[in-house]
């Protein structure tokens, strides 16, 4: 019997006899057979950070993979030091995914790899933890959604504000916002403004450089494998580790990288987890074809008239812009609300529907994680819609059902970008 099959059937049995299904992981001692294992692909800045580079009794880290030998060695050393563990190390992510000792594949690479690795893991029957942003294009996101569904995997997209932590400038979790919106006290439609004034920063220093000079590839880096599906461009250190965020080929700048953090909770609050805006408008300086620049304002409009406005460089409305504005009320930074005594009024209402926020428990009970391939795809899509509009420098209209732009072939070409051979999705 394979390790994994043993775990599943025994896990179910123990579930029945000892451990209540909703508090799995509660007991202090976890038998090794009931313990999951994970492998991390990409052990650079994020993959080696303390939140992700974990190993505990519920899920043990057993393998790491990187195309940079230095990063790989650092990860191995770190595991030895922190967990006294000897990890299996891989250069090729496919080898980690197909390692029978790995249950959960944790993807912490730059975004241009997320879709390929997620799909490969899904096909191999592995469950997946993928860092934000989910994918670099709308088409890639759709493909991940299909592969996860076809193979019935548990997929966690890793950003978390829809279910935990103080939500930036609001000074609370999103729960009271969700309740407030659901209560109808603000009226409808709503306008959400995500800007410095409401407590968010778009990290405009995450921009790329133009006029890059070719540089020799460092000996420790497999640049061809680092690029993977991205078009070949001569190596320059600024394209890769940490600063890759500034290039369209790999990510989407502050918008691409922070966007899903900020906008996923907005889609949740507005109840838009199964749809997308029908229009995106951008006000920005022209974008370079390679290096990502800044933008001033991005406006999304949904079919029902709800709007999300992103305020960027030089466009903050100042302290007077509400985070959420409806015909009957407004909420400002720090949850300052124009409705008197609002918190007490909210307390009288039921809490929002529960969310499954324990990833390990989700894997064991085969329940969808709170932020999964479906709602995660929608929040990645909203970001990627703006990326397309920015790159073409024009207003785009979108069909949320067909997942295509309307009447704009060039925009649709950005939805589905052919990959560099031999990569395919």
């Amino acid at each position: 019997m394979k390790r994994r099959d043993f775990l599943k059937t025994m896990g179910a049995a123990s579930l029945f006899t000892i451990v209540p299904s909703r508090v799995l992981g509660g007991p202090k001692h976890v038998a090794p057979s009931d313990q999951l294992t994970k492998g991390i692909i990409g052990v650079g800045g994020i993959g080696r950070s303390s939140y992700h580079f974990t190993s505990d009794e519920r899920c043990r880290l057993v393998a790491v993979c990187d195309v940079d030998k230095k990063h790989l060695q650092q990860a191995l050393d770190m595991a030895k030091q922190r967990f006294n563990a000897d990890l299996t190390s891989y250069h090729d992510f496919r080898d980690l995914i197909h390692d029978p000792n790995v249950d959960v594949v944790h993807i912490a690479t730059p975004p241009h790899w997320h879709a390929l690795m997620s799909v490969e893991a899904a096909k191999a029957g592995k469950d997946i933890w993928c860092e934000k942003p989910m994918t670099r294009t709308i088409g890639e996101g759709k493909r991940v959604m299909e592969a996860v569904k076809q193979n019935n995997r548990i997929f966690r997209l890793n950003t978390w504000f829809r279910f935990t932590d103080t939500f930036y400038g609001l000074g609370t979790t999103v729960e009271p916002l969700k309740k407030l919106v659901d209560s109808g006290m603000l009226g409808w439609p709503l306008k959400v403004t995500v800007s410095g004034a409401t407590g968010f920063t778009w990290k405009f220093f995450w921009v790329g450089k133009e006029n890059l000079q070719p540089e020799p590839v460092p000996a420790e880096l497999d640049y061809d494998m680092w690029l993977g599906p991205a078009p070949f461009k001569p190596y320059n250190v600024h394209r890769t580790h940490q600063t890759f965020r500034g290039y369209w080929d790999y990510d989407g700048g502050g918008l691409g990288d922070m966007g899903q953090h900020y906008l996923d909770p907005v889609q949740y609050i507005l109840g838009k987890d199964n749809t997308s805006p029908i229009k995106v408008e951008v006000d920005a300086p022209q974008q370079h074809p390679d290096a990502i620049g800044i933008w001033r304002k991005i406006t999304y409009t949904y079919e029902d008239g709800c709007q999300i406005i992103l305020e960027g460089e030089g466009f903050e409305s100042g302290d007077n812009v509400p985070y959420i504005e409806g015909p009957k009320g407004k909420v400002y930074k720090g949850f300052q609300c124009t409705i008197p005594d609002v918190m007490n009024k909210l307390a009288e209402l039921p809490d929002p529907a529960p969310q499954n926020t324990d990833f390990i428990n989700c894997i064991k009970t085969r329940q969808k994680f709170a932020l999964n391939e479906v709602n995660g795809f929608r929040s990645a899509t909203i970001v990627n819609m703006a990326v397309c509009a920015l790159r073409l420098n024009r207003t785009l209209r979108f069909d949320p059902e067909k997942l295509q732009f309307i009447g704009d072939d060039a925009a649709n070409a950005l939805i589905d970008q052919p990959m560099r051979s031999p990569w395919r999705l």
């Binding site: 059937t9 299904s21 496919r94 197909h98 001569p234 940490q242 974008q287 620049g293 039921p350 809490d351």
Partner: protein, 948 residues
């Protein structure tokens, strides 16, 4: 009148010119050559907004294929120059013409790109051009892509272009028949759905490596017929239906799915899916995928497979089956699934309960509720409690309420907290029950603020059972309303310890809904009558008005400092800021050592307050002067970034050498300089930036974003205006003696007229931010005929185009209606094809100047233009670059006899104003990015007694 006239003339020229022009290069309505149009466009890139973008792209695309080609030809190898501006232009064009409303210009761009591709030799640039042609190309461009397939570097770009461009199916199929580049072609077949390729792909499989197989298998899955089925079935079986390098399993699965959906092949595909489903050796995800195919092909006839799966010991199999059945799960199917789950046992029941919960299956309320109560295993009951909370309804409610006070109290409470429906009456009724139930329901009563339970809660405060009494106290906050304040105050004044705190919170909650003034009235009445003033301090903090704060300060100074201070820290508005500063002041004889806490509280209130920047700055600097701990100090130093003004910079810069505060100071310095409304400059600002940069550089190893800060500051230093030194220009003693006068000394625009909106006085310079064609030019107030004109200029961005018009009338094109002495950063790589008479210093179109080699951008250049009769002399940076006679240059023919092309001028244009006796001196700009200063003139006509 004059305006209308010149408009008419311009219109006329625009109409006639295309016919009459003998010039090989096209010109536009403003008689700009293609080179000039492109140069003007480039000077405005990257376009600052959509309007500029559309204008520039339209103008460049309208220059035709040759214009676009010449633009693309400006690309140089990355090691030999900077391509960014040209890349903005080209990618902008490719995007612009894909907009349907600009489709008419698409061909120009495509042809231009292709023409340039034919001669471009740099591989990186060629790849870039291919990617643009991929974006805006059509099937007609396919031969260009095909020709690039022979090149190892370019073939990937070319193949992706063939995939990206519409209508290339035949070309791709021909390539398939030729059999090269199989991996990439198989991918193309998949993306373009080229069904006719199937026989070739099947053939290729015979000698394919793993990577080729993966591409071919995937393509067959996308386009294959039943001819491919046995091949993929065999391959998938061989790899054990696992994910691996040849992608056989997934391809087989996808082909099955496709063929199952087609009536012609459905039977065959379903048969294979069934056998896969029955295969005990496949992994759960494969089994699930087989079931998904059966559901799609068979609809409800697939249900028996689900029922069997519910009995499977593997939790993954059961849940995969449930997920896949979702599209068919109407109420009747759901009921049957519940029945089948009962047969299958508690594992399946648990899964189905979870599934009903996630789907909010209200039709199964009774079934779910029945699993909340009665004989159940714990797991099943917990799943049922969870599902019942989501599904709601009367039966769910009573089932959940019945679990309060039991072993499952916590689960039931969680479900009831979010119970979607009217739960109040049921919960109130529960309060009539036994102590255990009462203690269990009271937290819910409090949390959901069920006022109907109020009297009972007050009654239970006195319960003999300590658990019940404590729970009643805890619930009090939720159930009380404004009218209960007095009653609570009566209780509170007698209470001690924890109960006192609980009652304080209850009083706050009771009053929270009424306006602050009314709250204050209620509180101050009680306050005046009691000796225990501190009891009401938390309420005063909630009130937060000036009166309330004064009452707290009174307490602070008169024996109740600790309690009053704690309350002051809770006040949530800026009224309290001055009081906090008063307390923070540690001077002898004042109020003690609460500096840190007071300042830490004040900061967010100041930031959020509607104060002016100057007032905020004063608070920040006062706070720093009060010498708090370094952690609090650092917060205030960083806050200086919110008030970008010179004094904030000075203050922040003082801490750049402080080991504890240097990061905060560096962050503030960077933010202040970046955000300052008035551009900051000068040596001190530069020194602060350099130090801040060093601070970030030292943090790069530990903070990934520090590298960005270093780069950002580098850019800021490069752009820093050279302020700080004197901004006022003066005549030299020699100039004074010779009779020069100042036209612009850096202090005013008194001698100028015209476009004062885009030629503005900044930092002692005339700064030009005119977008091309907007708002007009800048003119001297006086007219001049013979003169020596001296000035300094600085290019701030690559490729700036401006000019000095002389002897020109106003609001016309000086180059023709007067004379234009060209100002142009002709070193920009995209001016490669510039005509000599367009070079810097030329009398435009008449006499070419010797080419100047400019120093780097941001350096001041000096220039002198001497105009005496027909004799023009131009000196730049001390070197004479033009010395000629305009009449001789065109042999006296400034206009042709018939008004058509002029064979005597080097630009073949007519220059009717060339021999003007006098006119204004102007700056005629084509865009932003240039500064002028220290402008002087000596009027030579004066000496000749021709003074006007």
């Amino acid at each position: 009148m004059k305006k209308i006239q010149s408009l008419l003339i311009a219109l006329l020229i625009a109409l006639i010119l295309p016919v009459l022009s003998a010039n090989a290069q096209g010109t536009d309505a403003r008689r700009r050559t293609t080179t000039t149009i492109i140069a003007d466009g480039l000077a405005q890139l990257p376009a600052k907004d959509v309007t500029v973008f559309n204008t520039v792209m339209n103008e460049i695309a309208s220059t035709g294929a040759t214009g676009v080609q010449s633009l693309a030809n400006m690309l140089v190898p990355a090691t030999e120059g900077q391509n960014a501006t040209v890349e903005y232009a080209l990618s902008g064009l490719a995007a612009y013409v894909t907009d349907k409303s600009h489709a008419g210009l698409r061909k120009n761009v495509r042809e231009g790109l292709k023409a340039s591709l034919a001669t471009c030799t740099d591989k990186t640039n060629k790849a870039f051009l291919l990617s643009l042609l991929q974006q805006c190309g059509t099937a007609e461009d396919a031969p260009v892509f095909v020709s690039c397939l022979k090149d190892d570097y370019l073939k990937d770009f070319a193949m992706r272009a063939l995939i990206g461009v519409d209508g290339t199916d035949d070309v791709l199929l021909k390539l398939v028949s030729e059999g090269e580049n199989r991996t990439a072609l198989a991918y193309a077949v998949e993306k373009k759905q080229l069904a006719a390729a199937e026989p070739f792909l099947l053939l290729w499989l015979n000698d394919a490596d793993a990577s080729q197989k993966a591409a071919i298998n995937s393509a067959l899955a996308a386009i294959g017929t039943k001819a491919s089925l046995p091949v993929l079935a065999k391959a998938a079986k061989e790899v054990g239906y696992a994910g691996e390098a040849t992608n056989a399993y997934e391809s087989y699965m996808n082909l099955l799915k496709r063929l199952a959906a087609d009536p012609a092949t459905s039977k065959l595909a379903v048969k294979q899916a069934k056998s896969l489903w029955k295969n005990k050796n496949v992994a759960a995800n494969v089994h699930g995928a087989a079931f998904e195919t059966l559901v799609k092909a068979l609809g409800k006839d697939a249900l028996p497979y689900l029922y069997k799966d519910l009995k499977n010991p593997d939790i993954e199999v059961r849940n995969a089956a449930l997920l896949n059945i979702c599209p068919l799960a109407d109420d009747a199917v759901s009921a049957e699934i519940a029945k089948q789950a009962e047969k299958a046992g508690p594992y399946a029941v648990t899964d189905v309960l979870n599934w009903f919960g996630a789907r909010k299956q209200t039709s199964e309320e009774s079934w779910v509720a029945s699993h909340v109560v009665g004989e159940q295993t714990d797991v099943v009951r917990q799943a049922a409690i969870y599902a019942a909370g989501i599904i709601g309804g009367e039966e769910s409610l009573s089932a959940l309420v019945s679990m309060l006070g039991t072993r499952f109290n916590d689960d039931a409470t969680a479900s009831l907290t979010r119970f979607n429906g009217k739960a109040d009456d049921a919960l109130c009724a529960t309060l009539q029950g036994g102590a255990e139930v009462q203690a269990a329901v009271l937290p819910l009563i409090g949390k959901r603020r069920i006022a109907a339970a109020k009297e009972k809660v007050f009654e239970l405060l006195g319960s003999d059972n300590a658990d019940v009494s404590n729970a009643a106290y805890a619930a009090l906050s939720g159930v009380v309303r404004p009218e209960d304040f007095t009653r609570l105050a009566d209780l509170a004044e007698k209470a001690k310890g924890d109960k006192r705190t609980v009652l304080q919170n209850a009083m706050k909650s009771a009053l929270a809904a009424v306006p602050a003034a009314e709250q204050y009235k209620s509180v101050s009445e009680r306050l005046s009558k009691t000796a225990d003033k501190t009891l009401y301090y938390p309420l005063l903090a909630q009130v937060g008005t000036r009166e309330a704060i004064d009452a707290l300060m009174d307490g602070y100074k008169n024996g109740n400092a600790d309690a009053a201070f704690a309350a002051l820290l809770k006040v949530n508005n800026s009224n309290v800021v001055d009081r906090l500063f008063e307390i923070a002041d540690k001077k002898p004889g004042t109020y003690g050592l609460r500096t840190d806490a007071a300042l830490d509280r004040a900061l967010p209130l100041i930031n959020a307050a509607n104060f002016t920047s100057i007032r905020k700055f004063r608070y920040f600097s006062d706070a720093i002067a009060l010498n708090p701990s370094s952690s609090v100090r650092n917060k205030f130093i960083e806050a200086l970034g919110n008030v970008p003004m010179p004094s904030a910079l000075d203050l922040a810069a003082k801490y750049l050498d402080n080991a504890e505060s240097n990061v905060a100071a560096a962050t503030a310095v960077k933010t202040i300089v970046a955000k300052s409304a008035e551009p900051m400059g000068g040596d001190e600002v530069k020194a602060a930036l350099v130090k801040a940069q060093d601070v970030f550089r030292s943090k790069m190893a530990s903070d990934p974003d520090a590298g960005y800060a270093v780069d950002e500051i580098k850019g800021m230093i490069e752009k820093l205006p050279a302020a700080g030194t004197s901004l006022i220009s003066e005549l030299t003693p020699e100039e004074k003696k010779e009779g020069f006068v100042m036209l612009f000394d850096g202090t005013n625009m008194d001698n100028w007229q015209g476009n004062l909106d885009n030629y503005t006085l900044i930092d002692g310079t005339i700064y030009v931010d005119a977008a091309y064609g907007s708002g007009g030019n800048l003119y001297t107030k006086k007219k001049y005929s013979d003169f020596i004109y001296r000035f300094e200029f600085q290019f701030m961005v690559l490729g700036v185009n401006n000019g000095v018009g002389i002897r020109t009338p106003m609001d016309v094109d000086a180059a023709y209606e007067g004379m234009e002495i060209q100002i142009l950063d002709h070193d920009a790589p995209y001016y490669r094809d510039l005509r000599e008479y367009q070079q810097h210093g030329s009398v435009y179109g008449i006499i070419p100047a010797k080419r100047v080699k400019f120093p780097e951008l941001g350096t001041w250049n000096t220039e002198e233009i001497r105009a005496v009769g027909d004799h023009i002399t131009v000196t730049v940076n001390g070197e004479v670059i033009l010395d000629g006679n305009i009449r001789e240059a065109c042999k006296g023919h400034n206009v042709s006899a018939d008004g058509g092309a002029n064979e005597y001028t080097v630009d073949h244009q007519n220059h009717p104003g060339l021999f003007n006796k006098d006119g204004y001196i102007s700056f005629c700009g084509h865009g932003t990015g240039i500064k002028f200063r220290n402008i002087r003139i000596k009027d030579l006509s004066k000496g000749k007694g021709k003074r006007r």
